[in-house]
Symmetry: C2
Subunit: 300 residues, 2 copies
């Protein structure tokens, strides 16, 4: 089975490194330079003190034809629009597409895609891209996947052949799966990014913990959550288990990169507006993060 | 006329330097060391490139007897409780007391004071303490004063004798005077302290400006403000006129000092609670600042 991976950021490189142990992988990069680097050097995967090199074909994204049996789309949500236009202009209809974006803002885009089977995934690995061909697998986790449209036969065949080191777990309900992750991201990401603190500080500092709980209540109200206490306990566990981690949004802000704030809080604010509910805390945090992005000249 | 000044921070030193040109001033310090320094060196006032030395008597606060005709209390709001206990344990009842604290949290404390005349003031000068006896007058402004209790005769005599360089302006309504300043402080101070930006950024960055306007609306609702547009325009002008200034709360956070958050947002949150109004944005900002204070070990 041939597998295509679109996007060679930390998640794209991580998936390419593991999947190429079993399948023939082509990774599609934004720039021709990065494709050339990967073709020359392979993808170097660092996991603890262990280093492995995977030989992977790389091509610039302009060369993607959609012919692989499965294509994994590992770009950020804010880069997705241009990929979708590309999909809908392919000369063939692609068979199986797996989308790994954070948040839920991309769901409405997926309904416009012409493809046989569409899956969504939620990645629980920690990965840090060191340079254009080297990635550090610094948080071992799993990938949850679910069918968004069509059937999941091929994805099931694919995932059973992957090693236990890189597990893929099937979930029944794509909406619930993405919502679970969204709730966690919506609480942890903006607060850690604004406060510039590690995840653990949100539960160890009693004042920040108050903010966390109030924010969670506002999110619960917007999402009409039933099992509120379970969700809150999950957030608290994740803060404790990743106490010394810096969230992806904090790292984006520190590195002057755009954040995924629209995919996360933007989605919740739209949902609030459609229900005519007020969301003053989410709105404040949304604009604070948008302001931080603009402050550093990203929007110029 | 003898004048006492309690507190030798930036505002205490600034007032002592100007008032001692006309009146006999004793400044009361928290530590005996600072009193000794001031007695040895005088107070050095830097204003632009001009430097003047004022000879001022200094004593530790334990030596204060309340015998001066006017005593100006220039400590932070969170230090006020112990001063008030001191006032109420003096062997004589003091004649005239002028309180210069920010916010409005101190008003309820003032009703418990045994003194003939009580005034409150709102300082619009910028002053930066360089060391225990040197202060930089880096923002020339005025001091607004108003009668809180009793009559203002002596304060009027006092203020007419001060030079035009250091004007005191009488206001009719102490509540309105303090409220005006509170509104400005409640918007500018917490936002600049959390975002770690200069005042101008709050109006120049369109996303931060959204947060500013939403926050102002919540404050207006709590204070039942009538002339909302005027207040908002005042805040915008101040942000523009002090665009490159770092607010006092930002400086406190940066210097690991306690902030005046209780006097400012704490007061507004109490007011909201008494009216059974929700104040989600103020509450979030309040806990974020309290958390910042705790984070740096100030509460330990």
């Amino acid at each position: 089975m041939k597998v295509g991976i679109i996007g060679a950021g930390s998640i794209g490189l991580l998936f390419a490194a593991y999947i190429s142990r079993v399948f023939e992988v082509t990774i599609y990069t934004r720039t021709a330079e990065q494709a050339a680097e990967i073709n020359r050097r392979g993808i170097i995967l660092q996991k603890g003190s262990e280093q492995t090199i995977s030989i992977v074909s790389a091509l610039p994204i302009t060369e993607w034809k959609g012919t692989e049996a499965l294509t994994i789309i590992a770009v950020k949500q804010y880069q997705l629009q241009s990929i979708i236009e590309k999909i809908n202009h392919l000369s063939i209809m692609p068979e199986n597409l797996l989308f790994l974006q954070n948040g839920m803002g991309h769901l409405k885009l997926l309904t416009n895609i012409q493809a046989k089977n569409i899956f969504v995934g939620s990645v629980e690995h920690g990965a840090l891209k060191d340079n254009s061909y080297r990635v550090n697998h610094n948080g071992v986790g799993k990938t949850n996947v679910a069918v968004f449209n069509g059937d999941g036969l091929l994805l099931q065949q694919f995932s059973t052949r992957l090693s236990e080191e890189f597990p893929i777990e099937f979930q029944e309900d794509y909406y619930e799966m993405l919502e679970n992750k969204l709730i966690v991201n919506a609480v942890i990401n903006p607060l850690t990014a604004i406060l510039q603190v590690e995840n653990g500080e949100l539960v160890n500092n009693p004042f920040y913990f108050n903010v966390l709980k109030n924010l969670f209540r506002e999110i619960s109200f917007i999402l009409n959550l039933e099992k509120q206490e379970e969700h809150l306990q999950q957030i608290i566990s994740i803060c404790k288990n990743t106490a010394e981690n810096r969230s992806s949004m904090l790292k984006d802000i520190e590195a002057n990169r755009p954040t995924e704030i629209d995919a996360i809080l933007g989605f919740l604010l739209e949902k609030a507006a459609r229900q005519e509910k007020r969301a003053p805390q989410l709105e404040t945090l949304y604009y604070l993060i948008k302001g931080k992005e603009a402050e550093r000249g990203r929007l110029s």
